[in-house]
Structures are given as structure tokens and as C-alpha cells.
Symmetry: none
DNA sequence: AATGAATGAGATTTCATTCAT
DNA sequence: AATGAATGAAATCTCATTCAT
């Protein structure tokens, strides 16, 4: 999977015209290879069941190499969260900017998230996902959504476009709905992203409205 | 090391009116001790991170004794689920019967669940709850609530007292909200059960209403 | 399998007309039940692989009861050897007395042993005998034969009816032949006791003759 | 605790003329160390009674290292069998080729086997050989001898240099004699290899002759 | 930096034996 | 004596981490 140590080849940075030296290129590639493998492995086995060995087995690298990049399974998870957030947050931000109103924003955010979910799920092919009792790890993207939504909600409240409710509760509620409905959606074949997104949007907006009445 | 089969207690057969000998009393007490420890440990570490050792260390019993009662961590989890469900489901049912309407039912169910949550949480004393990335195991009670709520929702739809929406999505959404808001609530000190329950109820009812409009 | 604790029934020694009191009867029966189970278990799993638990599971008795009769697996094995020898040695002795000559004695002894072997093998139904690399425990009967044959050979030498050879070597050789040929015989279907016994007898007698020439 | 991969030795690649790096040397040395320890332990305790722990304790290596080389006790036994057979079979073959007749072949094979036996026995230093009831595991060399002898006997029969008898019975008988007499020989001090080998040879040849008469 | 064998703590599980009943 | 649950030492095996190369 990963580029690994790529000892072969005579090309160098000058010849390839790239700005990164071979070492840096390799370093970045190895780091990414580990992150990619970790994402797959965490998705397949869950955080706890996954071992560093499982991750490194998913790359071309040797076991010791893992520790050149990360101190532990926990650290790679955090890096993954950062990575996921870095990739997913701009999408969310863009939706926020294009959104015409709070309602629109929620719908866009949820749709983006569900699209992301289905893509990842397809990629993962989760044959062993359900071993043991059902356990869910909050994925990096979920965390990104959580924080983004909480910020968005706080913003909306500050700007007066959302009712004045506890933003932590609100964000938690929204994320809970998205998560669980997302799960149910993924179990259906084919997963209906738009339907689920509409459901979640309506549910959350309804919830927000009702909570605001109090 | 261990107290062994002398779990004692002051009740005796005469007092309890039961025909169990000391042996049987002890057996039941040990089984319960393991279940109690398992509940604490699962709550503290999560299902995956918890080990059989952790569980047995949470009792006065010797390591091998675990296997007199359960074959594996999974089996004790299932027993716990049965136990939790057996204890919590009647409460939920009672609330359902006492409820005057769907709205009332939701509020009662959520309140009962949050009360249960706080009690269990107190009992658990979770100093290390947040080690590692956040992972949530669906607790037995959660599963009980899920199934109960799904049934309740299906009932309500069938009786026409709830709008006709996808019951799986609806139950999932409700459970998601309760779960996440419950989490946030538990992090606050002191946890405001009634406030959180009102929030969730309003949110869910608002959500249901809005979803039903479509 | 075993008579076990036989708590029921009102008969007592006086009524049954037996000389043994109930306790002694029960004791003897339990002891025999353990021996029977041990024989089966050792035959099936081999000495090392067999556990005290396996033995006691083969009876109606409780685990602790084993230790009222034997101190360990080793002790029950020794008792089994004594038991087997006690039962098998008279048969061998009888053959020795009926035998007209050394040749006849060998043939009779081997035939008796192979008959015994086939009976035991049938009774045992050895489905798991061959787990792991092939290992053979000398059965109590084998040991009895060994000692009997060695004594018989020593006798024959002393009486001048057998050539004067090292009796330990001779007995070892005879036992080795009987053992290995017995094994091969048991693998054939149906096992030909008489054929195998004739082969062994001829082989051993030929061997003895040749060795004696030196 | 352990010396680890610094198994050293004074030979280096230059001296041995081999291209193996230190790593590979070390790997091979460790594998051999485990095999050696396993051979000693199996000889001392028997296959069943021996544990992986016993084997690894017989080396300088750490417990986990065993599993870098073998999956289980059974696998190390098989490797040992391959190893033993690989080392002993050529010796047997050579004897077969040098033998002038069937008689000579048997004598040579038995002598080679007993020599091997005494060497191994010396190497092993068997202080606890007789713990527990007597149990014999067919050693890898024994298996090699068995197969070699069976083939040799079949050959001899085919070429008409041995009487036409059941080759399985014959090989079994020969092996049985060699085994048991070998055992008795080892218990004597000093072990008389030539005497035992002559005895076995005479015995087997006498046996073969007599059996062939029938 | 990469490699991958070695490490050893720790998890799971079995089972001979004890002992209160 | 019989019972059978409790015990805890010991066996098997895994895996995060180190470190010589």
C-alpha cells in the first residue's frame, strides 16, 4: 500500500523537479501510509480492538518504523482526527458560507457528512465490524462535525438566527441524531443519503424550534 | 486473598423466607459481584478496553472463579445486558402505561433513563473514563431503551398518536439525542436530570413534529 | 456410570444379605468407578493429556470425591496398573500352567494379550487417540505382561527349556514385538488376533533360538 | 534477562564463506537453540509433559521469542522430526548401501541407531526421565528408523533376499525389539552398544527366519 | 530513517487441589 | 464421605515497544 522505503530508482529531487527532497517525500508518504492504514483498521476493528501491528501490517513498512512517526496508537488516532478534521472541516465551512440560513446550513452539513460516511463505509468493507457487542468510536470526522456544528450553532445564536438554547446540548443533540440515523442509513441497501439527510435536518430543526419556544 | 464463598450478608433463609442454602446464597452473591464489577469496569473503561482481569480484580474473587460463572467477557456482557434490561425495562413499561400521550411518554422515558444514568454513574465513580479516544459502548440499558422506544414509537404510529414516520429513523434519532445529551449532562456538576430530560423531550417532540409535516 | 453416592433406596446390608455394609459397598463401588473411568480416559487421551477432571467427569461423582480415593493422577494410574495386573496376570499364569512347552507358552500369552487388547480397544472407541505426535503409554496390562514374561523367561532358562540368554533383553524384545505388532494389528480391520499372535510367536521363538546359538 | 540476538560465536561470514548477515546468523542460531532445547526437554519429560515454557526456559531467549519461530509445541516437534530425520536418515542409507546382505544391513542399522541413542542420551542428561508412569514418545529418529527399516525390509523382500512376510509386521517387530532393548541398554552402565546391537540383530534375524518358514 | 527480531509484561484460560457445607 | 465452588499457580499466547544493524 504505502510507498515505503523506495530504495530503488535513480531519480532524485532535481530530476523530478519536485521541491521535496527524497527523504522528505518519503517521510510524508510513510506518514500518510500509516494514517491511511490506521483509518481502515480503526473502521474495521474499532479503536480498541485494533493493534499497532494491524496498522503497520496494512502498510509496506516495518513495525519499528511506526515509532518514527507516532508514539502510540492513541497518538496516531489523534493525528487521524486532525487529518480528518483538516480534510472535512473546509467542506463544512464551505457549506456554511454557501448556506442561506440556519436551516440550509444544517441540511448542507448533514448531507456532506452522510456523503462522507457512505464513501468511507464503501471503502472500508467492514466484514468484521460487528464482532463483540456493538461499540462505536467517534470518528475524527464525527468530532470535526461536532465541533463545527457547535461553533455554527453558537454563531447562529449570537447572530440571532437561532433560538437561544444551550449550545452544547444543541450540538450534542444534533450530533446524536446524525450519528444514529447515519448508522441506520448505512445498514440499508442502498443507503439513501438525501432521504436520511432530509430526515435529520427536519428532525434537528424541529427540535431546535421546539426547544427555543420554552 | 479472597473472601471466597463467605460472602455472608446478614439475611438468612429464615429472614428471607427462601429455601436457598449457604452454598446457593454464596453462588448468587458471587455471580452478582461479578456482574456488578463488570458493570463498573465496562462503564469505566468501555467494553473493548476492559479485560476479564479488570473485572475479577473488581471483586474479592480469585481469577479462576470468573470462569465458574461466565465463559468470556462477551458472555458476562450479555448477562449484564439481560440483567440491565430486566431491571430497567419494567420501569420503562410502567412509564409507558402511565403516560397520557406520546409526549408524556417520551418525557417519562427520558427522565427515567437519565435518572438511571446518574445513579449508575455515581455508583461507578469514573476517574479514568476519558482515557484514550472517546469510545462509547452501548450499555445494556441503552439497548433496552432503544428497543423499548422503537416499540413505543411503532405503537404510537400504529395508534395514530404519532405522525407516520420511519420508526427506525425516529427511534434512532431519539436514542441519539438522549445519549449525547446524557453524556453532556453527566459532565456537568451537578447533573441536571430534569433540565436535560426537558431539553431532550422538547427536542425530540419538536423533531417528530417537524418530520411528520413532510 | 458409577454407582456413586446412591442415596436412595431403603435396603441395608442385613436385607441384601451381603457381607459388606452400605458404606463399604459404596466405597468399593466408587473406587471402581474411578478406576473404570480412568482406564477409559487414559486410553482415549493418553496419560499426560488426561486430567483428573476428565476422569471424574466420567463418573457420577463430584470432583472432591476423587481425593477421598486417590491422591493424584499418578496414584490412580498406579492403582490401575495394579488392578490390570491383578486381573490379567491370573490369565497369563493359567496359560503358563496349561502350556506344554516354552513355545506353547509364548503363543498362549501373546494370544491372551492380543485378545485383551482388541477387547479394550473396542470398548474404548479411540476417536482422539492420535491427537498430537504419536505417544504410547505402557498400559498396566502391558506392564503385567512384561513382568510375567520376564519371570516366565527366567524360569524357562532356569529349567533349561530356553536357551541361556539375557532375560531382561529377551523380555524386552518380546514385549517390543508384541507391542508394535499389536499396534499394527489394531489398525487393520478386522484385527486378526490369531494371525498376529502366530506371527509374534514365531518371531520371538525364532529370535530366542538364534540368540541362544551365539 | 536474555542475551537476545547476540548469540555471537566466533565464526564470521568471512570464515564460513557464507553470505549471511549477523541478523540471519542470529536467527538461525536462535532457531537452533530452540530446537536443541526442545530435543532435550522432550527427551527429559516426554512430549506431552513438556511445555513451551520448559522449552524456552532451556534457552537464553525470552518467552515471546518462541512464537517468532514456531506456532506451537506441535510445530516445534515436527521441525525436530524433520531435523532428526534429515540428520539420521543419510546415516541409515549409507549403512544400507554398504551392507553386503540383509543380515549385515540389519546389524549396521541397529548399531547406528544405538550409537545415535547413546549420544543423544548423554547429551540430554536425563535426571527426571522416570517421573510419572513410563511413557514413550516416538522420537523423530525412531520414526526415521521405522520408515527406513520398513522400506529396507520391503526392498529385501522384493529382491528375494528376505523371506516373504508381511513387511509392516516385520518392520514393526524389528522396531519394537530395537526400541525396548535400546531402553534396557540405556539403563545399564556403561551401555554396551555392540552387545545390544548383536542381540537385536540376532533376535530379529532369527525372528525373520522363523516367520519365513511358515 | 528503516528494519524486524527480541523482549517481557500482561491477558486469557485451565485445572489440581482444598475446604466449608 | 460426598459435594462442588473457590482457589491460584501455571500454561498459552499476544503485542507494544526497543534496539542493534
Amino acid at each position: 500500500m504505502a510507498a515505503g522505503h523506495m530504495t530503488a530508482g535513480t531519480a532524485n529531487a532535481a530530476e523530478t523537479g519536485e521541491a521535496l527532497g527524497r527523504r522528505e517525500q518519503s517521510k510524508a508518504a510513510n506518514r500518510q501510509a500509516i494514517l491511511d492504514a490506521a483509518r481502515r483498521v480503526f473502521a474495521q476493528l474499532g479503536y480498541e480492538a485494533a493493534s499497532v501491528r494491524d496498522i503497520i501490517r496494512g502498510t509496506d513498512l516495518a513495525s519499528g518504523t511506526f515509532y518514527n512517526y507516532f508514539k502510540s496508537k492513541e497518538e496516531v488516532f489523534e493525528a487521524l482526527a486532525d487529518d480528518g478534521a483538516r480534510r472535512f472541516r473546509p467542506v463544512l465551512r464551505a457549506q456554511r458560507e454557501q448556506a442561506t440560513c440556519f436551516e440550509d446550513y444544517i441540511e448542507r452539513a448533514v448531507h456532506a457528512y452522510f456523503t462522507f460516511l457512505v464513501t468511507e463505509h464503501r471503502a472500508g468493507a467492514h466484514p468484521t465490524y460487528d464482532r463483540g457487542p456493538h461499540v462505536r468510536a467517534n470518528t475524527p470526522e464525527m468530532i470535526a462535525v461536532f465541533e463545527e456544528v457547535r461553533d455554527g450553532v453558537a454563531d447562529a445564536i449570537a447572530r440571532g438566527t437561532a433560538p437561544m438554547v444551550d449550545p452544547d446540548f444543541l450540538a450534542a443533540a444534533a450530533i446524536g441524531v446524525a450519528q444514529e440515523v447515519g448508522d441506520v442509513m448505512l445498514k440499508r441497501n442502498p443507503p439513501d443519503v438525501s432521504g436520511a439527510a432530509r430526515f435529520v435536518t427536519a428532525f434537528v430543526l424541529g427540535g431546535v424550534g421546539k426547544v427555543g419556544e420554552r
